[in-house]
């Protein structure tokens, strides 16, 4: 995947107690998936960072009990409005 040269990156170092039963790779994955769920990274960006396909990312988010698509009352209200608009357009174009 190509990126423009302007993309800035930050590097995070995190020291965990050795008793935490996670490999570095696993801890990294939890962080990336959470950042996708919260909207700090898109699915594409998350998949790139983990070196997996979109389909794998979706499955890993689901396994980690993170939502691929979350529906807050605000989401639902906004998208239902668009849905009604779509249905209106469809009804208009079906009219002879």
């Amino acid at each position: 995947m190509e990126h423009t040269g302007s993309t800035q990156v930050i590097t995070i170092r995190l020291e965990l107690p050795a008793s935490v039963p996670l490999s570095e790779q696993e801890a990294r994955e939890i962080l990336v998936l959470k950042l996708v769920e919260e909207g700090h990274l898109s699915q594409s960006e998350g998949a790139q960072l983990l070196g997996v396909s979109r389909a794998e990312l979706i499955e890993r988010m689901t396994q980690a009990k993170m939502a691929v698509a979350r529906y807050t009352p605000e989401d639902l209200a906004r998208e239902t409005e668009t849905l009604h608009w779509l249905q209106q357009q469809r009804a208009m174009s079906n009219r002879p």
């Binding site: 995947m1 190509e2 990126h3 423009t4 302007s6 993309t7 996708v36 769920e37 919260e38 909207g39 700090h40 990274l41 898109s42 699915q43 594409s44 960006e45 998949a47 396909s53 979109r54 389909a55 794998e56 979706i58 499955e59 988010m61 689901t62 396994q63 009990k65 993170m66 939502a67 691929v68 698509a69 979350r70 529906y71 009352p73 989401d75 639902l76 906004r78 998208e79 239902t80 668009t82 849905l83 608009w85 779509l86 249905q87 357009q89 469809r90 208009m92 174009s93």
Partner: protein, 163 residues
């Protein structure tokens, strides 16, 4: 709207979700024109080879009911999503090559809201299908999507008040 048929631009996630429950064709039944940008095709069919959606999307493009369309103006891709499928989907709507974006992830949906772009997500596509009689039991279908590894954990809200 004028003479241009209603067009939806779809991101990888809804394609993968619908393909998981073998409902990709709902898009063709619901929306006159279905387009995806090259980055989404690459995500699902090329990088996702052998995984959910790869075969179905490749076939849909071969059959012509999903069209791969490049945004007319790549400078319209939001800087926060440069080089991503979500970014190209949003650019297609900004370039007026599509009317509505179908995206799932929070970052893309937030950006659509910020840019004033109409958008829906996988759950709403299924809700639309249910309202058109293309799906008999919305709750069951959403549950199956979840079982297939596509997490919509608060899907009960989607079923409430279904018309």
């Amino acid at each position: 709207m004028g003479a241009k048929p209603l067009t939806v631009a779809v991101d990888a996630s809804p394609l993968i979700g619908l393909a998981k429950i073998r409902k990709l064709r709902l898009l063709a039944k619901l929306y006159p024109v279905v387009v995806i940008p090259p980055a989404v095709y690459a995500d699902v069919v090329v990088r996702g080879a052998g995984r959910a959606g790869a075969r179905a999307v490749k076939q849909a493009v071969a059959e012509g009911w999903i069209q791969v369309v490049t945004p007319d103006d790549s400078t319209r891709i939001p800087p926060a999503l440069r080089g991503t499928g979500e970014g190209e989907v949003i650019a297609l709507v900004l370039c007026q090559q599509a009317d509505v974006a179908i995206v799932d992830d929070r970052k893309a949906r937030n950006l659509c809201d910020l840019l004033g772009i109409r958008h829906i997500s996988t759950g709403l596509v299924l809700k639309d299908a249910a309202s058109q009689g293309l799906i008999r039991d919305l709750a069951k279908t959403l549950n199956r999507l979840q079982q297939k590894g596509f997490g919509i954990f608060d899907y009960a809200q989607l079923v409430e008040g279904n018309d």
